[in-house]
Symmetry: C2
Amino acid sequence: MAYKHTATSDGVYAQLKEQILHLELPPGAAISEIETAEKYSISRTPVRDAFKRLEREGLLEIRPHIGTFISLIDLNAVSDVLYIREVLEFSVLSDLSRMYDKSQDLRIRLILQAQKELLDSDMPIEELSRAFINSDNEFHTALFDAAGKKNIIKFLYEYNSQYERFRTFINFNGKDDLTKLYEAHVEIWNCITTQDLDGLNACINHHLYDGFSSSSDVISKCPEYFTKIR
Amino acid sequence: MAYKHTATSDGVYAQLKEQILHLELPPGAAISEIETAEKYSISRTPVRDAFKRLEREGLLEIRPHIGTFISLIDLNAVSDVLYIREVLEFSVLSDLSRMYDKSQDLRIRLILQAQKELLDSDMPIEELSRAFINSDNEFHTALFDAAGKKNIIKFLYEYNSQYERFRTFINFNGKDDLTKLYEAHVEIWNCITTQDLDGLNACINHHLYDGFSSSSDVISKCPEYFTKIR
DNA sequence: TGTCAATGACTTGCATACCAGAAAATAAAA
DNA sequence: TTTTATTTTCTGGTATGCAAGTCATTGACA
């Protein structure tokens, strides 16, 4: 992993992944190797490499001799990622709370400030949502980093493609959800700096699951995007 | 993932992975596509697929136009996996402890019994070690399953190739370590059935880290197998 | 009209040839 | 002898053709 791959294969991988996560390539849609190759004016080989990689991340479903399809959003996988995040995040942030010193405060506050400014801006909701999700990831990464657990969140991010896609799906809903996220961030940071572990636990729980539970009506708008529930 | 791939690519992947995890292909060794292809009497294409997959799991390092090498054992990655396992396992087993009912007891005790019999047998240490590690994984899988969190441990297993390899490395050491693992298993199960959460926490901690801390002298026997420590 | 087999148009998996980059070996020059 | 070009020979990356599997259409036959 320390050494670069060729840009061709990596390029189509990155572009396809972004399109899938942003639902521009909708769940269930067919996508063929040769078609993609022609679109990018390259051969099938690097496309195949990218496809295989995306399949392992659960974003594509390759059915040999039949076709390749954008995978449906697997709510079970999303639920699993949420559980893992909840547990790991509480553990790491508890550690951080115990070792917290004021020198870390500025960096976090800057991120929070940026999020507030995003919410006050008048971007179109799609653009705002993307920008805010990026900032959200930045916030959580900064927290893990402050706790000396940078690698742990890298691990999480490699596995949460399904969750990212789900989040994109429900966040197009409106600005209110994003505002709630921001407020939760502020509260989480307050709990950490005041070493309120019980409050922290409750916060993380809410923060992660909130959008999830209030989303069943959103899901029903596009049921064909999702796998059947367990 | 629900659909099979072709057997050719999957086959070499599985075989190579086993050889790497069992250290038959030692860390740092070179391994070439064409050589491997000839060995299995297939073309480079399925070999390349397998290589790419192993690279993403951190078991190979592909350096374009230079060569492909069995990756060194990354103790940082091992340490991260241990942390994640500790946190997740304590959380899941705490849940299990709260919801424990006696119908689950038999299955676990059978696994423990099998482990005891393994230890009492007179297998050669290498074979014993492999068999015990398999049984160890079975034990932990059964626990997660009993807690209704089967997917969570699948998640873990996909990420712990580095850890598995490390374990193979230190367990060739002798029977004592395996005996300790067995005793820890018994104690963990006792803690769960008696709902002793504090004891459980301590157990898991010991269980995971024990072999790790006592292994620095073992590591020094083959320093060329490991990456530099953080 | 209804049934079933043949056919053709797709798909991805695999084999092979060629390309580009890197390193080592060789040859030429100081 | 030492140093510097140059060439040779590795490597993996890419392009492409063929093989094999799947499905929908079609046409023959009952």
